[in-house]
């Protein structure tokens, strides 16, 4: 298939969207509908790539009924450590309502009918993303698949002006000159093989940071999903009907899919084995599960396990910021960042505005992806329009550092070294999940050392570059995560510290984090709430 003709592709667009999951496709659609000429780039394939396509999602969908809305917003405020912004929650609920209705009316998504009405609290991944792809094509969006972006381009004033990348099935590099860029590259799951997540290596956050953007909420990044051992299927909702056991068959006290996952992690660390049986579902519920999420049953059907009557071993796979809440810091209602011309959406952006300190399962992520995508697409199109005609003559400067423009004189570290550090310092439950400063600090020191080596000498070109950049993005991600985790000397939402088990009212703030060679943190006041809610 690759033709290896090395002619670089030189393209222009008003708006470039990087990433073709739900956030990217909604951004592309909205920008195109605002009149922009849109190009969408995906590392994989828009329509199958990313956790939504393979996993499917519950959706935070409520009718615009004040009581229903209030309940939806109040439901998880305590879980989220009171870091959410009420105004953002309301606008995301509004936008999600509109988008789900459009998905039915305009993309003809086949929602189930319950009590005579379409049931819109969830979508099947393959069906949803296949329809988003055809919809954006109808809207005039150009799509380049298998074309990982590798860096952002800026003009002389630091305004984002394009992207560069590689077309891996053609063996050529590409460059796009653009008036605005939306980063919708998903979160970072550190190549853990959690369902659909190996494309989620945090690339967008690295690109954004190199252009000068900030992150927020990176301490809330340690989501782990339950999967049958040795499989990828981290679909966790139905484990709410499960009982967990020691390897000898006695119940594992305190274990549960929500609120008891750390017990599972401890037992896995101690003995390596936790057994599970989905034994609390009635026959009717079992039937509903099979229809509701066929992919949940793929491992069971293929391995000959009846999850309702058999006990099977389970594991926890790192889902990082895919089901955590941290990401690129948003500075405006249009999902702008601190860098002019750069917008962020979906898992690539912080979800603290609607989730606060906790997400995990359950529908907020998908609502955020489609809503923030819509806001960002509209914002990017407006920014593109605001630039004068001379914008197409801007000088383009690549801002990619690690792996592209090494510093002088460092010790060269390669992709394998970086992946090894990720495996040893980020995947393990006793470092990233069951957090304690005494283990976080040495882990961070390892990550810092690898970063330094990376900056010092790692370099690649062509088809080798995307992989090296992904490794750099994961190391950068992990360093922001652990630095923020150390800055939060309390337990709030997902960010729990063994030595600080309680919530500290004096730390009712968000934590902005940034920098690459030297990482900094800064407390940020919580917006959109009554003062002193916590």
């Amino acid at each position: 298939m690759p033709s290896h003709d090395l002619v670089p592709l030189d393209l222009t667009a008003d708006v470039v969207v990087v990433g073709g999951g739900p956030a990217g496709t909604w951004a592309a659609l909205t920008a195109a509908e605002s009149g922009a000429d849109v190009l969408l780039l995906d590392k994989g394939y828009c329509g199958t790539s990313g956790p939504t396509a393979s996993g499917g999602t519950g959706v935070w969908y409520t009718r615009p009924d004040p009581a229903e809305r209030e309940k939806a917003m109040a439901g998880r405020e305590a879980l989220g450590g009171f870091l959410q912004d009420r105004r953002w929650m309301a606008r995301v609920l509004d936008q999600t309502y509109e988008n789900m209705n459009r998905l039915e009316a305009e993309a003809r998504y086949p929602f189930p009918i319950v009590d005579g009405e379409p049931y819109k609290r969830g979508v099947q991944g393959p069906e949803y993303m296949r329809r988003m792809r055809s919809w954006i094509k109808r809207a005039g969006v150009r799509i380049l698949d298998h074309s990982p972006a590798t860096e952002l381009l800026v003009d002389g004033s630091g305004t984002v002006a394009g992207v560069r990348g590689h077309r891996r099935q053609h063996g050529t590099d590409y460059r796009v000159r653009a008036r605005a860029v939306v980063l919708a590259t998903g979160g970072c799951a550190f190549l853990s093989k959690a369902l659909g997540c190996d494309v989620s290596t945090g690339d967008g956050a690295l690109f954004a940071a190199e252009a000068g953007a900030e992150m927020s909420g990176m301490e809330f990044s340690n989501a782990y999903g339950i999967a049958p051992a040795f499989t990828s299927v981290t679909k966790t909702a139905y484990y709410g009907f499960a009982t967990f056991f020691h390897s000898d068959g006695t119940p594992l006290d305190g274990a549960g899919s929500q609120g008891g996952r750390s017990v599972i992690a401890r037992e896995l660390l101690r003995t390596g084995i936790v057994l599970c049986q989905i034994d609390q579902a009635t026959p009717e519920q079992q039937e509903q599960m099979r229809l509701g999420q066929p992919n949940f049953f793929l491992p069971f059907n293929r391995l000959g396990i009846d999850p309702f009557t058999d006990r099977f071993p389970v594991t926890l796979l790192l889902e990082g910021t895919v089901r955590g809440t941290g990401g690129i810091r948003i500075t405006g209602d249009d999902c702008a960042t601190t860098v002019p011309g750069l917008y962020a959406a979906g898992d690539a952006a912080t979800r603290e505005l609607i989730c606060g300190a906790f997400t995990g399962g359950g529908s907020h992520n998908s609502a955020w992806a489609m809503s923030s995508g819509t806001f960002a697409g509209r914002g990017a199109a407006a920014f593109a329009t605001s630039l004068g005609a001379s914008a197409v003559r801007r000088k383009l400067i690549g801002v990619g550092g690690a792996g592209i423009r090494p510093d002088e004189g460092g010790r060269a570290v390669g992709r394998d070294d970086a992946l090894d550090v990720i495996r040893r310092q980020v995947h393990p439950y006793d470092k990233n999940y069951l957090r304690n400063g005494s283990r976080l600090r040495p882990a961070l020191a390892h990550l810092d050392a690898v970063w330094e080596g990376f900056r010092g000498g790692a370099i690649a070109h062509g088809g080798e570059l995307p992989g090296l950049r992904q490794a750099a993005a994961m190391v950068a991600h992990a360093r922001w995560m652990y630095t923020s985790a150390l800055a939060r000397t309390e337990s709030r939402g997902m960010a729990r510290r063994e030595e600080y088990p309680d919530l500290d009212p004096n730390q009712h703030h968000r934590i902005a984090v940034g920098g690459l060679d030297r990482i900094w943190t800064r407390p940020e006041a919580v917006t959109g709430r009554e003062p002193a809610a916590a």
Binding site: Y45, A53, G122, V123, P126, P228, D253, Q288, L303
Partner: protein
Amino acid sequence: MIEIVSASRCVTCDVCIAVCPTNVFELGPGGIPVIARQGDCQTCFMCEAHCPADALFVAPFTHPAPADSPLRDEAHLAASGLLGSYRREIGWGRGRKPGARLAVGPELGRARITSAALP
């Protein structure tokens, strides 16, 4: 991981090469795709869902299936109905009703924490 490309079923449409998010396939002899980079497979089942000929099979493991595994035996997979089962379940393929139409799971209740007091 992806284990099987059935040469007898494949209609050489190249869809799997296009849709695999991690670029696992390459075009092989006679237009039949080959599993060129199994180690990059993320076990997401998307190629299987999109293959119009039920020619692909993804074993649920995140590592290669052992050589003697029945999940690498095409005849067994065809006979047991596992080949093409994911497409059937999501209702993809001519004349099928989209599975999305029926996808209403059970109401998810409060978290259940395992208690040692359980029988």
